[in-house]
Amino acid sequence: MIRALLVLLAALIALPALAQDTMPPAPYAYTQLEDPALEARAAALMHTLRCLKCQSQSIADSDAPMAGDMRHQVRSRILAGESPEEIRAWLIARYGDYVSYEPRVSTTTWPLFVIPALVILIAAGVLLRRLGRRRGGAGGEEA
């Protein structure tokens, strides 16, 4: 049953993939910005935005037409003077946190930040217990 549903679902998703438009890509989909500093900012941002039509790829790594259109948005907005974080926020306001590979601290993502802090504490605790108990003190070798 589950399998049949999944096959159906897969067929559904596969359909639009088979059809492709023949339109030329958006102006800034495959064209870099003239100013290398602006292009570097755009490129850094594009590597951290998710292509929504792909399987786990950033929009900087995809040939999907929608990824191209998103690259166009990023580049033209950078050119218009927006900051990368403004553009990220604009996209998150439209697609939710899913679109950004850089998780923000929020009610749904706080464990991503709290657990590493805990790991630091646990690691420090383990090291102190294993190494600090004997004379010589802890962290002596942290050159």
Binding site: L6, D61, D63, T108, I115, V126, L127, L131
Partner: protein
């Protein structure tokens, strides 16, 4: 016939795995000396099982080689027009075949252990083989009950439906088998750890038996990940070599655990310390292998590298995972408390540095695990999040940087206790190098923080790797020590490649008319012409690019955009120009309405060092195995000679003194 032989061999192998389990358990219950008659069968069962599993795999390989379309697996994954090499590699380019490869490697490593391991007490070996048989049995059940690779079609297919074009690459010949062998090699470490825990034999002798298996598995994992990274780099067509994708992480996590295990098993072998910790890592390393298999096969996480995804099979693997790993953690919780703590040591000692390394590696493992599984957790609450490089890079660096710093000086420390004054000079040297390089590079331009730090660390580590050789006569340095030096140097080399790629890559996207030129880095690239070409199962358009560096002679690069017809899919085949100091990466895209072609070009300085570094690390591992095995053989030889001499002396003493 071929398929039936293979299937029969598989059923027999499964039966032998059951025998191995029972016989091994009998040895465990029998106790030392009082050998149960059943226990005798454990070793032969393991050896014969290895032969049968190999036979089954050979049969499947043959079926793919001759494209036997009456077998369902061949018909759905192969094609008569496919190049021969991809017919062979296609054997494991699908779920059933890759699982058969997995159990074959599992059976062969069990067989090798049973055939050649003579150092362990019989009870411990019995328990180990029982665990190994138990694990194998689960995977045989998986294959035979839900993923039979030898299933026949009622009517043979007229033609196969082909293999995913992304997999029609020489990378498939190398990457999955190596990675699988590494995953499965860790199963031996797991079985040994469980065997030692069950028989309370956790000590240096056990560690010495376990070490070559851990080293071997680790070498294979290193090679597998290195190959996989390079394969994805040139095949996906965008020049990325690591994206922290769930499937990439699935292969990294066992490697991290194995790296930690490798170092802690060395401490256990040399100093009889870190007993519980080593057992824990042994279980953890194999859990990560199985977890990786689960994530890749079940499709619970979205990945660009996911093939042959099926949730029903995922459920089966999850069941096995719960059985083995849950069981192992339960036994660990019950038994590990009884394992006596090992020898003590000071903070500033070789052991201290290795403990630090272990804790940091485990912390990185924890971060990668968290970041990989977190989207799964939020999806349970219908919230979708993405965790990618901007999270993983800094979060893992928090732990990786201190670990690398300690790695620079750790090998210089003495076992048990050391004085800080003794390594003062080396510490100053490494610190000066790191700071100096960072300062020098930032003088020439502004670069992102992490790559900059990476460059400095790479310089410091590169030199530090060789410091343990200082003041020693090189000819007398043990082979295993050379292995360590080389592996640590490999880390520095790989780090250098990653940092340079991150800091200095030049990207050029351009629409070029035939005859036109673009520049990237100090290369001038001319698009000479675009021609249609055809391969055995694809057609393509191919760009001929003349690449000139300065006044040098032009080199021709030919990137292609391929269209496969079975299954219908298009791929872009990048063209690479490798220089000692980097790679030029070229991809051809679509043609615009005005007739110009879209070109994507990258100059990636020293990017190749990432994979050279990976290979050096693996080579270091190979040297370490060779060194250990040589020492071991020598020791055995010496013991045998000693025993022979003692026997001679006793014989002499007993014999009457011959008259002159």
């Amino acid at each position: 016939m071929i398929a039936e032989i293979g299937l029969a061999a598989l059923w027999l192998a499964a039966a032998l795995a059951a025998l191995q389990l029972v016989a091994g358990a009998a040895a465990l219950r029998g106790g030392e000396g009082a050998a149960s008659p059943l226990a005798l069968y454990a070793r032969p069962a393991a050896v014969v099982q290895a032969l049968l599993a190999s036979l089954a795999f050979a049969m499947l390989l043959y079926a793919f080689a001759v494209t036997d379309l009456s077998i369902k697996l061949v018909a759905t994954n192969s094609h008569s027009m496919k190049p021969f090499i991809y017919k062979l590699t296609g054997t494991w380019g699908n779920h059933e075949g890759s699982m058969l490869l997995w159990v074959t490697v599992l059976a062969v490593s069990g067989g090798l252990l049973a055939a050649f391991e003579r150092r362990l007490p019989e009870r411990t070996l019995g328990a180990t083989l029982a665990v190994q048989g138990f694990v194998a049995l689960g995977f045989y059940a998986f294959l035979l009950l839900s993923s039979n690779p030898f299933e026949r079609l009622p009517v043979p297919a007229a033609e196969g439906s082909g293999l995913n074009p992304l997999l029609q690459d020489i990378g498939l010949a190398f990457h999955p088998p190596t990675l699988y062998a590494g995953y499965v090699g860790l199963s031996v470490a797991f079985s040994l750890a469980m065997g030692a825990l069950l028989t309370r034999a956790v000590g240096p002798a056990f560690a010495r038996v376990m070490r070559p298996w851990v080293l071997g598995a680790w070498v294979l994992l290193t090679l597998g990940i290195t190959a996989g990274s390079y394969w994805a780099y040139y095949e996906l067509g965008w020049g990325g070599w690591w994206f922290w994708d769930p499937v990439e992480n699935a292969s990294l996590m066992p490697w991290l655990a194995a790296t930690a295990l490798l170092h802690s098993v060395s401490v256990l072998a040399a100093r009889d310390a870190l007993r519980t910790w080593t057992i824990m890592l042994g279980v953890l390393a194999f859990s990560m292998s199985m977890l990786g298999t689960f994530l890749v096969r079940s499709g619970v996480l979205t990945s660009v590298h996911a093939f042959a995804v099926d949730p029903e099979r995922g459920a089966f693997i999850l069941g096995l995972l719960a059985l083995y790993i849950g069981g192992a953690f339960a036994i660990f919780a019950l038994r590990a408390g009884a394992v006596a703590e090992g020898k003590r040591f000071a903070a500033l000692s070789r052991e201290g540095a290795l403990v630090f390394n272990n804790v940091m590696l485990s912390a990185i493992l924890g971060i990668v695990l968290l970041g990989t599984l977190y989207p799964l957790l939020t999806e349970a609450f219908d919230v979708r999040v993405s965790v990618g490089p901007p999270y993983f890079n800094p979060a893992s660096a928090i732990f990786a940087v201190p670990m690398l710093l300690v790695m620079a000086v750790g090998p210089l420390l003495r076992w048990r206790a050391d004085r800080p004054e003794r390594i003062q000079f080396e510490v100053m040297l490494v610190a000066a190098l790191i700071i100096g390089v960072i300062a020098a590079v930032s003088f020439f331009g502004s670069f992102p923080f992490l790559p900059l730090l990476g460059l400095g660390l790479a310089a410091g580590l590169g030199v530090a790797a060789f410091l343990p050789l200082r003041g020693r006569r090189l000819a007398r340095v043990p082979v295993a020590t050379w292995g360590m030096v080389l592996a640590h140097f490999g880390v520095a080399v790989a780090l250098f490649g990653m940092a340079s790629e991150g800091a200095f890559t030049k990207e050029r996207l351009a629409a070029v008319a035939p005859g036109g030129s673009v520049e990237v880095g100090d290369f001038a690239v001319t698009l000479e012409r675009v021609v249609p070409v055809a391969g055995p199962n694809w057609t393509a358009i191919e760009a001929r690019l003349a690449v000139r560096q300065g006044d040098g002679a032009p080199v021709i690069l030919t990137p292609q955009a391929r269209n496969f017809w079975s299954p219908p899919q298009s791929t872009s085949e990048s063209a690479l120009l490798t220089r000692w100091n980097g790679q030029l990466y070229a991809v051809i895209g679509n043609q615009a309405a005005d007739g110009r072609w879209q070109l994507r070009l990258w100059w990636k300085p020293f990017v190749t060092f990432i994979w050279y570094g990976g290979m050096l690390i693996a080579l270091g591992g190979v040297l370490a195995i060779a060194g250990r095995v040589r020492v071991d053989l020598k020791r055995r030889m010496a013991r045998r000679q000693g025993a022979a001499r003692r026997a001679d002396l006793e014989a002499l003493a007993g014999a009457p003194v011959p008259a002159e």
